[in-house]
Symmetry: C2
Subunit: 725 residues, 2 copies
Amino acid sequence: MAAFVLNVVLGLVGTHLAHAADEDGYDLWLRYRALPAAQKTALAAAATGIAAPDDTPTVRAAAAELKRGLAGMLGRAPDAIPANAKVRAGTIVLARATLPAGLADADAVRRDLASVGSEGYVVRRTRQDGVPVTLIAANSDIGLLYGSFAWLRQLQLGTAPDGIALADKPALPLRVLNHWDNLDRTVERGYAGESIWNWWELPNIIDPRYTDYARANASLGINGSVLNNVNAKAEVLSPAFIAKAAAIANVLRPYGIRVYLSVRWSTPLELKETKTADPLDPAVAAWWARKADEIYRTIPDFGGFLVKANSEGQPGPQDYGRNHADGANMLARALAPHKGIVMWRAFVYSPPAHPNQVSDRAAQAYDQFKPLDGKFDKNVLVQVKNGAIDFQPREPAHPLFGAMPDTPLVMEFQVTKEYLGFATHLVYLGSLFQETLRFDTRAGNQPMTVARVLEGAQDGRVGGIAGVANIGSSRNWTGSTFDQANWYAYGRLAWNPDLDSRAIAREWAGQTFAPDARVVDPVVAMMMRSREAVVDYMTPLGLHHMMGTGHHYGPAPWVDDLARADWNPVYYHRADKNGIGFDRTAKGSNAVAQYAPEVARRFADPATTPPEFLLWFHHLPWDYRMPDGRTLWTDLVAHYDHGVAEVAAMQAEWQRLRPFVDARRFDDVAQRLAQQQREAAWWRDACIAYFQHQSGLPLPAGVRAPAQPLDYYRKQAFPFAPGHG
Amino acid sequence: MAAFVLNVVLGLVGTHLAHAADEDGYDLWLRYRALPAAQKTALAAAATGIAAPDDTPTVRAAAAELKRGLAGMLGRAPDAIPANAKVRAGTIVLARATLPAGLADADAVRRDLASVGSEGYVVRRTRQDGVPVTLIAANSDIGLLYGSFAWLRQLQLGTAPDGIALADKPALPLRVLNHWDNLDRTVERGYAGESIWNWWELPNIIDPRYTDYARANASLGINGSVLNNVNAKAEVLSPAFIAKAAAIANVLRPYGIRVYLSVRWSTPLELKETKTADPLDPAVAAWWARKADEIYRTIPDFGGFLVKANSEGQPGPQDYGRNHADGANMLARALAPHKGIVMWRAFVYSPPAHPNQVSDRAAQAYDQFKPLDGKFDKNVLVQVKNGAIDFQPREPAHPLFGAMPDTPLVMEFQVTKEYLGFATHLVYLGSLFQETLRFDTRAGNQPMTVARVLEGAQDGRVGGIAGVANIGSSRNWTGSTFDQANWYAYGRLAWNPDLDSRAIAREWAGQTFAPDARVVDPVVAMMMRSREAVVDYMTPLGLHHMMGTGHHYGPAPWVDDLARADWNPVYYHRADKNGIGFDRTAKGSNAVAQYAPEVARRFADPATTPPEFLLWFHHLPWDYRMPDGRTLWTDLVAHYDHGVAEVAAMQAEWQRLRPFVDARRFDDVAQRLAQQQREAAWWRDACIAYFQHQSGLPLPAGVRAPAQPLDYYRKQAFPFAPGHG
């Protein structure tokens, strides 16, 4: 009976879900699949033609996207309505700055337009000369493109055309992807194949894929792309590579995406064109000024430079006794005449000057950058990772966010899952991004979330947001279906940091699978439990940096033999027979003091520290009493078991979705979930074996012993792991 | 008026060519596009249903391919006819070994079947129980699959169903691809992206692309795949990687493709599981026997090993004072109980033992292997490159083909264009393959082409054929549309070495673009001039090995500073003020003597040496009088200019095809041809500048001077060229 009812319901809703044609993921969330009959009829009446200026590449891109989307959803492309033709019912009218005559609610639209700024849009059903139209209005071309994508998104989600009324603008002016792509096409921390930039064939052979990249990013409002790895090579600034970047810029430009490059500090020295790389040396400054001029001759709207300097062996101004501001400002002055910017990374951590020196990697970026607050030129932004270590499954927000009120800051999120299971483990990062953006720094002793900091709520220094891309030449762009969701979520939060990650997941699932609760609800439920699952089976209770050497895949909490102490997992958890955790209170490194006093006080006391950060801030005995009454050891083990159980639950949830997802994507997700299940158990077993070894404690009652002895886990090696770490 | 006529003609033939939907090349030559109306009607009547046993994966694959192909061409998939159903008109009947009752010409079919062997097929229109059917008959499952593909090929080419009558079998039992794919997914000499084998995600996450790889190869009759680079790593024989190979083997098996691995000679030593790698050491032999047993437990039909030993720094039996036969036979004995084979590469060339020793790289494989003729175990084949240097645009056939009558030989062709312009230059290699296969070795002083040698026409030693694959994870598999043709041509010649390369090109073009003379004729004309064009603008008149160091891209005839003399281009052309060319006659290295006497005599005298091999065998003065009356210098320059002109002609030809090819593929080919044009001119200019510098001669009258001085060409550098050479 249940099956009969299900079939009837399927019939009512539309059987387009059952036996759906295989999809390879290339279309991302821009699938524009045929609508069910009733919706198709309604949309067809509301999309008879497109009336748009045909005068710029961006507006043409908007019109082309509308045509593509509507052709997919309706089965028929709408007509292009000539400029002076009489408007007819169902026209989609694109209006840039000037509204068409005869618009029913022109004043209201003008008021909205006045509030959406240079990149925003207004979309509404209205009447022009008495006939119903859809108006997409903006103050600029790019607003028309963003508005078109926003309208199409609503249609894909099943919203009736009459019900769509939008007025939106981005919260931040700088919303970029950072590609860690090397010039040999490998991708550092890339798990989606090689770089999408075919450097060898550029600039003369242009892969049409670059256009689809631009479309996908424009659909999210991403407006910048740093093309190459922060571990940069001097060659990227050679004439040959500038020409390649220019060719890419030409494809991205109509979609509102500017091109940026990561630059290596020592470039002029390596090219033997200067004798030093001292930023205060006039010859060096002159070289960079000439280089900037050269770049802007072929890329007039070049965005600027991203710089990793004096970090992990990269050269920088400190090599010459200068500081980060000296370096950043020199570059900034080379770019300023061209309106370019410098994004200078704060990801720095140095080995201790003396072997006995107490050193907390988590404290060093603050130590180096806080004193420089306010000392950067106007066109310099300081780019700060979400947390103070390195893109762990969970980190408290970086203290710098609350500590540099006079410097515009850029949030650096990692969309690619370097420490979270590559493209194998299903982990929805929207939860992680949201957690950081909503963190209240309490800077100035008032509510001041990280999002507000980026938006310039402190002293007016408007920053931006960057995502280390998970994009590669894999057919589905990101290596797995659900890793597409992380690109999507990053882009949506870059546009509006206040969006809810669950709502974003619902948008993504509706467009990527179907706007049907029978799919969306379970998919989103699975996504929303996935982040906490990975925290639990990898690094619960504030543990961090326990991944395998180099590739960062798989458990290796035992590693203690790397060249620098602060590369060893044991440095971060300090587990021994007495306890576990890193003391960042005044008794330890005192890194808590880098937070605002109210936050510092909360983190300074284990009793007030949220359990999810406990071992980030505290070194505690194994029998420390947790809020739930259990010992720390028992709780830790319980978290590991919970993580494994969560993955099993995710797998079971996914299996129920088989009737609703095409076989190809279904099977691929299922194979990955099965692998994630095995690996979650591996993480759990290896870590429990190790911590049991360190503590000497018996397993809590009823807990299953690890499948193998500790030595088995220690021996696991992965010589050819992707990501080139 | 002409346009009107053209449009009428287009309308008559079918307008499916005009405004064709963009294609990305993924479907290769298996596009199965909708037929024009008249042909569709005829085929629909002849393809109403498929009656096939449903009892093995291979037969199911055949039925699935028929269904796919017919659904594409007809717009409707034929029905699956149950086993005992009454046959109806238009059924496609698959018959393995046993013919169905009621077959009209059963005796004739049986006679054909008796002649097509274990892999062949018979396809004909006939009657069963009085109704017209298409019979696809074979002695084995794989013959049914090959027959199905052959029938579909004819249909795609527009042959009427009633006109298709085929009886065919492959000439060689071993028809393999060699992937030079590394375990980190890079591809040596690969220009089509990274390896298609996603090693990291194997064995548990299976890319559906592997199935399409299998289909493409089965459509050509390729029946083996060596998965990994001949510059092999010990890890490929680890349990983890054997499991990955087994997972691939499971996908390929239904398509008749066996999996092989390249193995590193020193593996047991590197794994510290033996103390030596001496092939005569019992512990070493025992190790390999155990390793073979291990492999066959998960891959019961594992093909065997491909071995590069004592070549270019790879370890081998000579490190222990043993010879190639000692090494090959030890491995062969490990594989023999499992019916596996060893393909032992003859690509060896050693630096001279003494600095003054005269050494001709082209002579060394013969010197090392000829004495071993007949000394290999039955399941060893010696794999020989098509020429004695290394996959140049033109080489005379390798002398070993006429010199090892008691050893089964494998031809090694290079399908990937290491020395022929990567995936940028359009070069149809069918011409090159055919030239080598039809070369008459005159072994035994009788007609004995290389093809006949491979087929065992000498002492019954049946060999095989191998192609170094040009396949990667690029969407179109091979990096460019026309590089697909080289995969296709290799496969067709592997099946039947007597096929004509122009006929193969027509097949390929008809399936890849459209079976329409307006497309096929110009496309094939372009393809058939392309090989000689590249010879002319790179290395005319028998010149060879002049490509850039490492990456082998671009002209570098001046290089003279590499660690080994026989790596330097100057070693190969020896151009100085007096002359140019490598003397391989008795006055020089006497490598000509490695050919049969009749051939050796022909090549020993410049007057009887074909001009295309002149400078391969002779060092001649610049004023040597060529058959056409011009001096060698003038002729050389003329060849360079002709090559450049040929590319311009190819470009012009392609431009005329714009109305007949989808925009996406058209533009991509056009961009590549434009790049090839620029690079042909670069080759021409650089080589003429250099040879002019060496010879001190003025340019022939009317010849355009190189665009830049010689130093400009010498300075060109390509630090990030693909192919990891």
